[in-house]
Amino acid sequence: MTEYKPNDYKSAVKPSWCPGCGDYSVLNALMGAMADLNLNPADTTIVSGIGCSSRFPFFTSTYGFHSIHGRALPVAIGLKSANPKINVITVGGDGDGFSIGGNHFIHASRKNPNITYIVMDNEIYALTKGQNSPTSHEIVTKVSPYMSVEERVNPVMMALSFNTSFVARGFSGDVVQLKDLITQAISHRGFSFVHVLSPCMQYNDKITYDSVKEKIRPVPENHNLSDRIAGMQLVLEVGTYYTGVIYKQERPTLGDKLNEVKAKSQANLPVDFSVRDIVKQFS
């Protein structure tokens, strides 16, 4: 059996990100995690939407689907449901995942497909050169030249309220922890969400490596991972970003349920049942 090294997941394409962009760390962490799990690149697909962060699939040697803005999750769910043996990892930005694609996040959580979703949150629309995103703090941008008029969403709180079955938060400034979180997320059976605080060098000085470093703290050792309310309390604490796994619940996946549906539908069918038999209902 081949043993994959992190660099085996690197493609020939040099990442187009700005020097210092937080997304490099996520790429390195994911390549490390895939190596730790020894995922065959041919059996792995990275699906993304549109944004700086969504350029991700071009930089890995796995299969990739760089889809359209906000729609990475349904593409990934379709792929996983039709082809369950593929390891599906979905990546994207805060605008992609919580604004235009926000609705899909709710329903992916409800479906609980066995896929991983990593969001690189730079609290800005970076690819379009710096407009307010749903996670932006009060910032002055070209579309909010006087002030921001909307409040922020808290992505981890969203995930907890949707009962996403695995919820973690990491930071681009800590690749070691991030690799561990992504490894756990991919290993989790179900829909695993990793929220990554990932600074942008160009368009948002409200989130920098230093400013985040000041606010992060590891999830307390005694935190009960199956206690959703306790997770919410951590997440709602003002002024602190807890990093680590926040919530985890084992429950049947979408794939399990689809298999159950198949088994139920086939329960009384003869072994050689085929489409030809289905036609009989029309005669």
Partner: protein
């Protein structure tokens, strides 16, 4: 007479549709051709009127016919609304518990039977069984066509999931109606003259079912959708049947998720489809472009209804053609097909999958409420002669070098790898890309890739794009239709022939790409060309005029358009053709229903 047209009408909730269903199934299973039409109000159980018309015949018919031989009306409103659909000399059978003596001009030429349908139903079962009494009555009136036992079988089948008691009372109600017609109705009608020989075993299904079945037969194993009238039956049927053959049906949060999930599944190597109607189709636009750009096979069914916006949810229209052809932003290949009847729903769905796989493009199948909701006979499926196409796979044993996903081939078609294939990893993307999938805006590569994608359509044009003709080649009058209006047009051409008009019909098998050569050939000797569509803006006509600009000839174009939610019957089409021919000397006519536009090529 070797056909019979029956119309049943009442208030929604009175069992009009279920009696029509039972009637048509029994007739088809007895070996006759059946075509049906149902109209029902949007409200599930409001005060709205609904009607079911069926045409039983010895030979295949394309429409449900115009005037009925028998009209059963459950109440006065049903009489008022539907009596105009009755033939002169036809039979009006009313529930005398609900409807009083009918007099007046519209009732002069018809035969009226007053039957206490409600009382009979109450006596043997309950008020609810009125519809069974009425089909019993009709079965009794046409007792020379042996269908009685089949009727009872189909009543049992219909109510199989209910208690024995309910099934029995429905059968009793049917028998009571049959008995009443045989013994009490003093017959002075023409129904005894009907004789039909059977035409062999057939299937009977609705257009939506035919699309769902066609998908299954074509190898579709993934469906994702969001409920919407009048397309939902496709999703419901596949939810039940797909898992039996190992497939997946996913209900999604909206149509954007539905279409992108189907694209994801197809990228993963599984034939995938989604179906919707206008509002959902609008939402899918961006993603259809993604399938075009990333060259992923995809089938999207639009069961058209009246638009725009929420429009007429339960009524049929052909107004999404422009959107299907031109709808997505940017330019890229896709294929648009439209089925003309239920049989064709099955055939065109298989075509849709075959073309999607062959050319790695999205294929849009434009059905509509009229054909989607009606039941018709369909030929038995000969599985051995069916052609099923699968995408050209990347074969590493033949091509061991670096895999070039979007290789610029002669046909435009490049071998496709599937996740899981060793040595096939590539990135599907909606961004313009190089042959190796890397994003690019290099003008040379951009030009090459646009041309590569469109070349697939040129290849397709040679391989399958066609049209069908009906009627004499030397006709000077041509008539062009697409999708579900074609049935009425073909029957109208026959009616015109009986009146001495020489007319030739043409209907394209693909709407995009349009079969230009066929059209030009067809138009070559025509002096008058009439286009028939269920829309206001004559969408096909405009596409046609735009596409066939090489015709250097004065042709007078006329439009027969209908956009009131009801569907054109062959009789209506014929009447309007007749009028056009008579008015032909006028240069420019504007009347309510027939507009002449002069197009100079």
């Amino acid at each position: 007479m070797n056909e019979l047209i029956v119309r049943i009408a009442g208030t929604a909730g009175q069992g009009v549709i279920s009696s029509g269903d039972i009637f048509s199934l029994a007739a088809a299973r007895s070996g006759y051709y059946v075509t049906t039409y149902r109209s029902f109000p949007s409200e599930i159980r409001g005060e709205g009127q609904c009607a079911f018309q069926l045409r039983i015949s010895q030979e295949k018919t394309y429409t449900v016919g115009h005037f009925s031989d028998v009209l059963v009306a459950f109440n006065q409103k049903a009489v008022d609304v539907n009596v105009k659909h009755l033939k002169s000399g036809g039979i009006l059978l009313v529930d005398s518990d609900e409807v009083g003596e009918l007099s007046g001009e519209s009732f002069m030429e018809i035969i009226k039977y007053y039957v206490p349908i409600t009382t009979i139903a109450k006596d043997v079962a309950s008020v609810k069984a009125k519809n069974m009494v009425s089909i019993g009555l009709i079965a009794g009136l046409i007792s020379q066509i042996p269908m009685k036992e089949q009727f009872k079988n189909d009543i049992r089948r219909r109510y199989a999931k209910y208690s024995e008691e309910i099934i029995d009372s429905n059968i009793k109600a049917f028998e009571a109606g049959y008995e009443y017609a045989s013994s009490k109705l003093e017959r002075h009608d023409n129904l005894n003259n009907i004789s039909m020989s059977k035409s062999g075993e057939k299937l009977i299904m609705s257009g939506n079912e035919a699309i769902a079945l066609g998908a299954l037969v074509a190898g579709c194993r993934f469906y994702s959708g969001y409920p919407i009238t009048p397309a939902t039956e496709i999703m419901e049927w596949l939810a039940r049947e797909l898992p039996k053959v190992g497939g997946v049906m996913l209900q999604c949060e909206d149509e954007i998720a539905s279409v992108t999930a189907a694209i994801g599944a197809s990228y993963g190597g599984t034939k995938a489809m989604t179906a919707t109607s206008g509002p959902g189709f609008s939402l899918m636009s961006e993603a259809i472009g993604l399938a075009t750009m990333s060259e992923i096979p995809l089938v999207v069914v639009d069961v058209q209804r009246g638009g725009p916006s929420t429009g007429l949810p339960t009524k049929s229209e052909q107004s999404d053609l422009n959107m299907a052809i031109y709808g997505t932003h940017g330019e890229g290949p896709k294929i648009v097909l439209a089925p003309m009847d239920v049989q064709d729903c099955f055939i065109q769905t298989i075509n849709a999958f075959n073309y999607a796989e062959q050319y790695q493009v999205p294929v849009i199948l434009l059905s509509d409420a009229a054909v989607g909701q009606r039941r018709e006979c369909v030929d038995l499926i000969n599985f051995d002669s069916l052609k099923i196409v699968n995408r050209l796979k990347h074969d590493r044993t033949k091509d061991a070098g670096l895999y070039v996903r979007y290789r610029n081939t002669k046909s435009g078609i490049s071998p496709i790898a599937t996740p899981g294939d060793e040595g096939g990893a590539y990135v599907a993307t909606g961004l313009e890309h190089t042959e190796l999938c890397n994003p690019t805006s290099d003008p040379e590569i951009r030009k090459m890739m646009v041309e590569k994608r469109f070349r697939k359509l040129e290849t397709a044009t040679h391989e399958f794009i066609s049209a069908k003709k009906y009627g004499p080649d030397d006709a000077k009058i041509g008539i062009i239709s697409w999708g579900s209006t074609t049935g009425a047009v073909l029957e109208a051409v026959d009616m015109a022939k009986d009146s001495g008009y020489k007319i030739q019909a043409l209907y394209p098998r693909t709407l995009y790409p349009l079969p230009q050569e066929w059209l030009q050939d067809f138009l070559a000797d025509k002096e008058i060309v009439i286009v028939v569509e269920h829309n206001y803006t004559a969408q096909l006509l405009h596409t046609l005029v735009y596409r066939c600009n090489s015709i250097n000839k004065d042709i007078k174009f006329f439009e027969i358009l209908k956009y009131d939610g009801s569907i054109l019957s062959a009789r209506e089409v014929y009447d309007r053709i007749d009028k056009i021919i008579r008015q032909q000397s006028l240069r420019y006519t504007f009347s309510n229903d027939t507009t002449e536009h002069q197009y100079k090529f």
